[in-house]
């Protein structure tokens, strides 16, 4: 029996066990929506803007380790989705985006709602396809899911012209697939792993630095085992939080531009560094020349060879799937009789403890104005560290990363690479869909939140009981902080003088809104919000306008050139 392209697409999604498709209909995808309507295995979530669809699919993926799926129409549908696709690309999130396209005979003729979707998205996808013949559709969808989820994951876009959705052919979904041009390395090189083990066992001031690759490859158990068996200090990047338990005694906090003093100092001064699923980016190590001033041996484990020796030259590169490589490392260390020199390691930990005494995350706990850090500490206490936290981008994001202690992976969901304001709420929707029983919290700010505020309507439609913690300082806080530090206090366009009444706004969308402006009311408000298990609660915390995120490494500065609170 022959099926239409639209029928084939839905059958493919079913075969991939797709639970949710986040999307928005339009002319070019009407036949696909018609087929969605006729079945109930693949559920559609109607967002209010295509950016929301891609972020929701992204949040779904990050919180569930499945491939997120978004469906958008041609032209503006796909251009609106680009921000979300680029966000997923920068953080290596496996996603498949289906976009409608004008009919094949109209392509290139400037048709209504036509845009070159494949051309526009090419630099921000792992791969993309234009399906010109219905006979290629099933195989292309198979390839898209395969490419998205394997190797270094990433978003894959499939552009389907409208006539392909009505053309017919026999449906056959391939069970497996191989591509001669795509063979990601999985197994690490044994010789390299042996070299790494030797370096680790001889280290006197070791440091383990783990990033988002640990989360994406589900290597948290292996990482935890390795750190504990060696007794080495461990730091996580912003993307790696939860990859190693934050409450473990070996954890020295997040590193980087807003990392802890002890993490940055240990990173800079170690003699053997193991980078795992991380990429030495500018927000993590600052100026690479400054970082290179201290001699150290670097072992770098990553699935993507192009991430290795890109900004920082390494001594022992190991290309492979992180959990497999770590398993091999652990086995070899187990088998070796040698152990790191205990005396040297003890001295190193003494040094780290000394750095810790800087108490770099301290803030004024007696303040009469709500301190944002205080709200996050209370949020951590009340949720017992067990919530899924999504965030937008800015100061609130950094405070959440610093003050919420993530012990498990896939609990911290933020746009680390692209830094997309507006990410938090739609990502929380996807996370809540994937984890209906979990407490999902969106930590945001009044500037970021307004970038995808329309999704409050989606939350109502699907009864998503997300808790929104809005740290409202009436500024684009991080912009203001940079302007204070580096632009002579000239707060150019970082102040928002026409904010909505967020409580009324939440209410108008059918949710609950609370405004909190006294420190004493923070805890009761949070408790009250989490009692309402079935409702979305928007908490508008009126916080200190001039609070800054410390420590801070200025743009282009060395990792240890930190601005600490006391120095201002």
């Amino acid at each position: 029996m022959e099926l239409t392209g639209a029928e084939i697409l839905i059958k493919c999604l079913q075969a991939e066990k797709v639970e949710y498709v986040f999307g928005y209909p339009g002319g070019a995808v009407l036949y696909i929506y018609d087929e969605l309507f006729k079945q109930n295995k693949v559920k559609h979530v109607l967002v209010r803007h295509e950016q929301g669809a891609t972020h929701a699919a992204d949040g779904y993926s990050r919180s569930s380790r499945k491939v997120g799926v978004a469906l958008v129409t041609s032209g503006p549908g796909v251009t609106n989705a680009v921000t979300g696709i680029a966000t997923a690309y920068m953080d290596s999130i496996p996603m498949v985006i289906i976009s409608g396209q004008v009919p094949t005979h109209a392509i290139g003729l400037d048709a209504f709602q036509e845009c070159d979707a494949v051309g526009i998205t090419r630099p921000c996808v792992k791969h993309n396809f234009l399906v010109k013949d219905v006979k290629d559709l099933a195989l292309t969808i198979k390839k898209a899911f395969y490419l998205a989820a394997t190797g270094r994951p990433g978003p894959v876009l499939v552009d389907i012209p409208k006539d392909v959705t009505t053309d017919k052919c026999k449906f056959e979904y391939p069970e497996t697939i191989t591509m001669r041009s795509y063979n990601p390395v999985v197994k690490g090189h044994t010789g390299q792993i042996k070299k790494a083990v030797q370096l680790l066992l001889e280290a006197k001031r070791p440091m383990i630095y783990a990033g988002g690759g640990v989360i994406l490859s589900d290597a948290a158990p292996q990482l935890t085992k390795l750190v504990r068996m060696l007794g080495f200090p461990c730091t996580n990047t912003l993307m790696g939080l939860g990859g190693f338990p934050a409450t473990d005694k070996h954890f020295v906090g997040m590193l980087g531009m807003h990392g802890t003093y002890e993490a940055n100092m240990a990173m800079q001064n170690c003699d053997v560094l193991v980078a795992i699923g991380a990429r030495f980016d500018d927000r993590v190590i600052g100026d690479p020349a400054h970082f290179g001033q201290v001699p150290r041996k670097i072992i770098h484990i990553d699935i993507d060879p192009s991430s290795i020796s890109k900004r920082v030259k390494v001594d022992v590169p190991i290309v492979g799937h992180v959990p497999d490589v770590l398993d091999d490392l652990i086995k070899l260390i187990d088998a070796s009789k040698q152990r790191p020199e205990a005396k040297a390691l003890a001295a190193w930990w003494e040094q780290i403890k000394l750095w810790k005494t800087k108490d770099c995350l301290r803030y004024d706990r007696k303040s009469k104005i709500i301190k944002p850090q205080f709200v996050l500490e209370k949020l951590y206490e009340i949720t017992k560290g067990d919530a899924i936290i999504t965030s937008d981008v800015g100061q609130h994001q950094m405070w959440a990363a610093q003050f919420y202690k993530f012990d498990k992976p896939r609990r911290w969901i933020n746009s680390g690479g692209l830094g997309t304001m507006g990410f938090g709420l739609p990502a929380a929707m996807g996370a809540q869909m994937a984890n209906p029983d979990a407490s999902v919290v969106c930590v945001t700010g009044e500037a970021s939140f307004q970038m995808c505020i329309q999704e409050l309507s989606t939350c109502k439609q699907y009864r998503l009981p997300i808790k929104i913690v809005n740290l409202n300082n009436r500024y684009m806080g991080m912009v203001r902080q940079w302007q204070q530090f580096f632009h002579g206090n000239r707060y150019s366009e970082s102040y928002m003088d026409a904010l909505p009444d967020f409580v009324k706004l939440a209410e108008s969308y059918g949710h609950i809104g609370i405004s909190i402006d006294k420190p004493a009311d923070v805890e009761p408000a949070l408790k009250e919000a989490f009692k309402r298990k079935d409702e979305l609660v928007f908490m508008d915390f009126i916080t200190d306008q001039k609070e800054n995120v410390y420590p801070m490494v200025g743009g282009g500065k060395g990792l240890t050139e930190m601005i600490l609170a006391e120095e201002l």
Binding site: R122, K126, S181, P305, S306, K310
Partner: protein
């Protein structure tokens, strides 16, 4: 430093723009780029002449390998290799300097492939440097038009680029 990178890639629509897009997005240099299908029509072979430090060239080859449609990448500068470029050059050849022009072409082992009353079209292959020398030897006053392919290259001896 100058490098010649040879790439085998799937002969599919859009593959070329993925490669050229990669070079522009990451601010790598392209001196020349040639591409055509191989004896296996499902594959194209691309030759890119680029320049950069060894770190940059390493990143270029890694990033190229990462493209899904790229099957194989080799830096020809890693081993002895042959490099050739083809040029078609149309020159002014009036009655009085027709013989000179013919002699010049012979010296550079060019072939005259088209003749008109006032012009010769000469076909010349060689390294880019040889083609440059020919242009210089002729002088700009007699040159009417040039068309160059950009370099293509192949390893010497047993080294082959195939799947």
């Amino acid at each position: 430093m100058r490098h010649i990178i040879s790439i085998l890639l799937e002969n599919e629509a859009g593959a070329l723009s993925r490669v050229s897009g990669l070079f522009s997005a990451r601010a790598y240099n392209i001196e020349s780029l040639t591409v055509a299908p191989t004896e296996d029509p499902s594959l194209s072979r691309m030759t890119i002449v680029t320049s950069g430090s060894s770190d940059v060239i390493e990143q270029i080859t890694k990033q190229l390998n990462k493209l899904v449609e790229v099957v194989k990448v080799v830096d020809l500068f890693e081993a002895p290799h042959i490099e050739r470029e083809l040029m078609l050059i149309k020159v002014r050849a009036n009655a009085k300097d027709r013989d000179d022009m013919k002699r010049m072409s012979d010296i550079f082992r060019g072939r005259i492939v088209d003749v008109s009353e006032d012009t010769y079209t000469i076909e010349l292959t060689g390294t880019g440097q040889k083609l440059d020398s020919f242009i210089e030897a002729l002088g700009s006053s007699v040159i009417l038009e040039t068309a160059r392919t950009g370099a293509c290259g192949i390893s010497r001896g047993q080294r082959v680029l195939r799947i």
